[in-house]
């Protein structure tokens, strides 16, 4: 198993207006993970080899921004490169990577 760490930082507010949603889709039928967080966090996945899609979505505080950092035992990718940041009211980050 390989480790991939997802770090999400929310800037410019006390908390994002709605929870941050995280979706991880892996190569097997049981490799789907979904969870949500109320504020900035760091989470480490333990993953079997294969191709993964990771999506992080939510909303920014007014005038704020969210930055997503993906790091760890990634053999190919991520696409797009990490870190990524969005300062729009709503955001959705999708990453593709191989472990």
């Amino acid at each position: 198993m390989k480790s991939v760490t997802l770090t999400v930082n929310v800037y410019g507010g006390a908390l994002p207006p709605v929870p941050i949603k995280v979706y991880l889709d892996g190569p097997g039928d049981n490799d789907h993970q979904k969870f949500s967080k109320d504020s900035s966090f760091s989470y480490t996945f333990s993953l079997a080899p294969g191709n993964y899609q990771l999506m992080v979505g939510g909303q920014n505080p007014a005038g704020g921004s969210t930055t997503v950092i993906l790091a760890g035992d990634i053999s190919s990718g991520p696409i797009p490169t990490s870190p990524q940041s969005q300062n729009t009211a709503q955001y959705a980050f999708i990453f593709y990577f191989t472990v």
Partner: protein, 392 residues
């Protein structure tokens, strides 16, 4: 007695101006003039007013340089900021939500330093004060929509988007042998998701053509636009909530003696029609025959009403009027011929010249003496300078 060194006030003004101009940030494009001209309202300026979330520019948005009473014989140049702005300059990580929420006190504490000069720009003294927001429910940086429909809509959109993108990528992109073509399409999938959610577009046009056809029946672009509308509306509602501030100010003369001071409480609530209640107790050093100080209070209540807004931006007020009732009482040191009590009906009209420049004209009608009085103020934010420079 006046300072003999005529360069001192000019030097102070230059330093003040340079510090503020150097820190100038993008102007507040929300353009709500109602936050522009009172110390109470300027506390609303916080992370909610920052554009782009660029932490390097965060601090500068808190600085304000204001020239007041330009048409009168006494002028002042202000430097205004919050304690949070200074702390952020030293530690930019304070802008992260987990630390940001612990900064309530420093974000609600504003200080103000001013250099006062006469019509010939000779130093006449200094002013210093602090303002604290005891109630700041209109702080958009604290907005929480978890119990609102927008939270469910947000999750619905993301659930569908995740499911569709995952299936399409595995069936149509990850199976490609051409690595360059595969990576290019995966990049388009990521970009498409970002654009779908972006406030300026909300389209599916950035996704690969084949995936656009898959997405179209689900109308995620319409859902994203609806979420944006909900978001803007809810943030607007936050901006109408109550704000209660207390201020203490003091001014010295050029001999560093206390010349005047005041304590003030302000309560604001509402937006298009905003309740505005104020109470002020003021002390002034005087040289009148019977007393050497003046002590008076001023209580007013009124409504700030937006009468004209921008055609292109309905949230941007262009002209406002504020009718109010005001009661003034002089406890000590009434001027010769002045009544120790006055009850007036006031009307303040404010006209927006630029995003950050307002001209307020206040007319007071003394009901008992049937007199009119008028005052003119001009104030502006340094963000205006940087914006104009950037456009050149």
């Amino acid at each position: 007695m006046r300072y003999n060194n005529k360069w001192l006030p000019s030097l102070l003004l230059c330093v003040l101006f340079c510090c503020t101009a150097a820190a100038a940030a993008p102007a507040d494009s929300t353009g709500n003039g109602k936050t522009a001209d009172t110390s109470a309202k300027s506390l609303v300026r916080g992370a909610d007013d920052l554009k782009g979330g660029n932490t390097l520019d965060v601090l500068t948005d808190f600085f304000q340089l204001a020239a007041q009473d330009l048409a009168s014989s006494s002028k002042s140049f202000n430097f205004k900021s919050t304690l949070f702005a200074l702390k952020l300059k030293a530690d930019s990580s304070l802008n992260i939500d987990t630390l940001f929420r612990k900064q309530r006190l420093s974000r609600n504490l504003q200080f103000d330093i001013a250099v006062n000069v006469d019509q010939d720009f000779h130093l006449t003294g200094f002013t210093a004060g602090v303002t604290y927001a005891f109630i700041n429910n209109r702080d958009k940086a604290m907005a929480n929509f978890r119990s609102q429909a927008i939270a469910r809509n947000d999750e619905t959109l993301l659930n569908v988007l995740d499911s569709l993108t995952n299936v399409y990528s595995r069936q149509n992109i990850l199976t490609l042998q051409n690595v360059h073509a595969r990576d290019s399409l995966l990049g388009m999938m990521a970009k498409g998701a970002a654009v779908l959610r972006a406030s300026s577009n909300h389209t599916i046009d950035s996704f690969p053509k084949g995936f656009q056809a898959v997405l179209r029946p689900y109308k995620l672009d319409s859902l994203s636009k609806m979420i944006q509308t909900e978001y803007d509306s809810l943030m607007d509602d936050v901006g109408q909530r109550g704000l209660l501030t207390g201020s203490v100010y003091g001014s010295s003369n050029n001999l560093n003696q206390l010349k005047s001071g005041y304590a003030e409480v302000i309560y604001l609530k509402g937006k298009n029609v905003q309740a505005d209640i104020r109470g002020k107790l003021a002390y002034t050093d005087t040289v009148m025959p019977n007393t050497n100080y003046r002590l008076n209070c001023d209580v007013s209540g009124g409504a700030d009403i937006e009468i004209v807004h921008s055609k292109t931006d309905p949230h941007k007020s262009v002209m406002e009027i504020k009718p109010a009732l005001e009661y003034q009482k002089v406890f000590n040191g009434a001027y010769p011929g002045e009544k120790d009590e006055m009850f007036t009906f006031n009307a303040e009209v404010r006209l927006r010249i630029t995003n950050n420049l307002w001209i307020p004209l206040t007319v007071k009608y003394d009901v008992r003496n049937q007199n009119f009085l008028g005052f003119l103020n001009v104030s502006f934010n340094t963000g205006m300078f940087k914006k104009s420079l950037a456009s050149k």
